[in-house]
Chain length 203, copies 4
């Protein structure tokens, strides 16, 4: 199931580029390429977010021992949402390029992101009830740390969507900050990672 999910995520992330249409007027190509900036922005934000989703999907399923039919169903919903993102990115780019409908587009994009966070939380909660589907190697501190991480995404992306309904550019800024936050670990996490690394070397 993880290999299949990897495949869908890899394809969705690569299809994003199809939404950037080359300018037809090559007489003013530099200008034409410059006016596509909303497409580049939508490409970068959505690409980095799907990259995050891929990494977190692995973190989650590394700790899930076996997938029952409910997990399979929820994971299919997750993939359906991920595969939908190239459309959302395309709508976002078009709205910013045309200068109309940005609110709607940001809310659509944010809702697709938020649904991802909801599904991550539901899968993790379902697998973690009485530790039924979790591997034995994960301790409860790590389970709680992952839960916290997923809940934060839930709140952060919901905030971005709501703010985007009021002020579209602010919504995009909140999504960008989310990506940066998740890619660049805060000091505490770095220290924790260093600890793990040192312990690993001592073995």
């Amino acid at each position: 199931m993880v290999a299949f999910s990897d495949g869908v995520i890899a394809i969705a992330i690569t299809l994003l580029v199809l939404e950037i249409r080359p300018p037809h007027d090559t007489r003013h190509l530099l200008h034409g390429l410059a006016t596509l900036w909303p497409s580049y922005l939508a490409y970068v934000v959505t690409f980095m977010l799907i990259g995050q989703v891929w990494a977190n999907h692995h973190i989650m399923f590394d700790h899930i021992r076996s997938a029952d039919r409910v997990v399979l169903f929820l994971n299919t919903l997750l993939l359906m949402d991920i595969a939908f993102l190239p459309f959302a990115a395309s709508v976002l780019a078009e709205a910013f390029r045309e200068g109309h409908g940005q609110r709607t587009a940001v809310v659509l994009h944010g809702t697709a992101f938020e649904l991802l966070a909801v599904l991550f939380n539901v899968i993790w909660w379902y697998a973690g009830r009485d530790r039924r589907l979790l591997t034995d190697t994960i301790d409860s501190t790590s389970v709680a740390a992952i839960s916290r991480r997923f809940r934060l995404a839930l709140v952060w992306l919901a905030t971005g969507t709501v703010l985007g309904a009021l002020l579209p550019a602010l919504g995009v800024a909140v999504f960008t900050a989310f990506i940066l936050y998740y890619w660049f670990p805060i000091a505490g996490e770095i220290r924790a990672a260093k600890c793990r690394h040192d312990r690993g070397n001592q073995k």
Copy 2:
């Protein structure tokens, strides 16, 4: 062969999104997005069905020991049908959006689904003759259970296609019910799964 099939299925399921074209008029983006509902419907129904196909493809080939040239040929036909589904989904969405040709579109979609069921039945029947190509670990009760499951799909999808020729919306409803039925196991299956799980734990 299973890895290659997984690849084709993953790509076909992700290409579905390309059939949802972003509205060009961003002045009334919310309205434009709303009128795309047949595309979303076709996306969800076809995505969930391909998800089912993927799961059942694994269930089937987990029990097939080796694939001879006939299995390889039939599997290629199966993949050719799966890869055709984005086109069928696109035709379905267009017909419902335009308000014309829904009967034809539902019959096309249903026929592609039905052909999948036919191929699943033929491959399973071929592999199961004298248990020639089956693994030793599967007992005859399980073989019969899978056969029953595949025959039911054959009848169900044929019914949906015929009903869809009379009343398109009814056909789509029958396909949706099919997906729900296969994702949510009936009581008996749950009990059986629990048994297996308990037995697994006792080992």
Copy 3:
């Protein structure tokens, strides 16, 4: 390298469907779908041929012990030709639909097929010189059998391309016969396969 090649082949085979454009006039949908028959034909012929290529690619690389830089380069050319086939299939469909340019389209399609056969022959010849890159498990009879198979493809597809330049429909018929011939083993091969199977059972 085999996994990467599998990926490219799986994607190319699935992208074929994007060349079948849904008819825009849904008022006469059945008619519209019927006029797309050249697209279905190009889809089926190219899909089955790429399926063959995939199977033969595995047969070949199962016997190649290690790939040096030359094999890597030739394999990249092979993939470049496979990935080009959706374009060739699209041109073929368009020419038969419009009723013009069928000769050119069949020659383009046939040349892409022929180039595949050339590359298969070159890779196999290169790997087989003094058995440098072959595995130890393959005997010289099998090496010769594979060589014969690849040489036949070379002649068959060249014949189809030349005949297609004279009479397009005949060229397509020769390609179709080629696919059928390779999928359905001739009597001798069946007997050989049975022998192998029996010997396998006796172990």
Copy 4:
């Protein structure tokens, strides 16, 4: 991570073909196909270059023991650049076909190539600091050889981009030479490969 990267690279390389649009006028199909030569050129150059990137990505990650968050982040940037190449190839083909904007198009294409080389160098430099993330099996001579190879790419592609800004055709020629140089090993490398091969046989 390597499997996911392989997936994205395989998809990006295969999506290149979508940028070659079949000519609509099939009355003069041969002429129409001939005028697409810039598309074929962009297809071949970009395909061979992504093929190179794939091979070098494997060479690099074969020697990287473990990927921390920084490597994961840099690799995601690398994939984002690779997935962008079908767009750059499409712009290149359009500019040469239309006879306008070739400078801009070559600089865009070259910059995307150059960014790849930068990211390769940064990842290799980061992983190699105090040999922190490298495997134990690689000696310092090999580390230096790979570093040299990556630095050469940096200079070569930058040169091609600058020359392309002055004379577009010259830029494309420099990129082509780069691909040929990397595929066909120079005499020294061949001798080294032969040595390795001989030593391997003696074992």
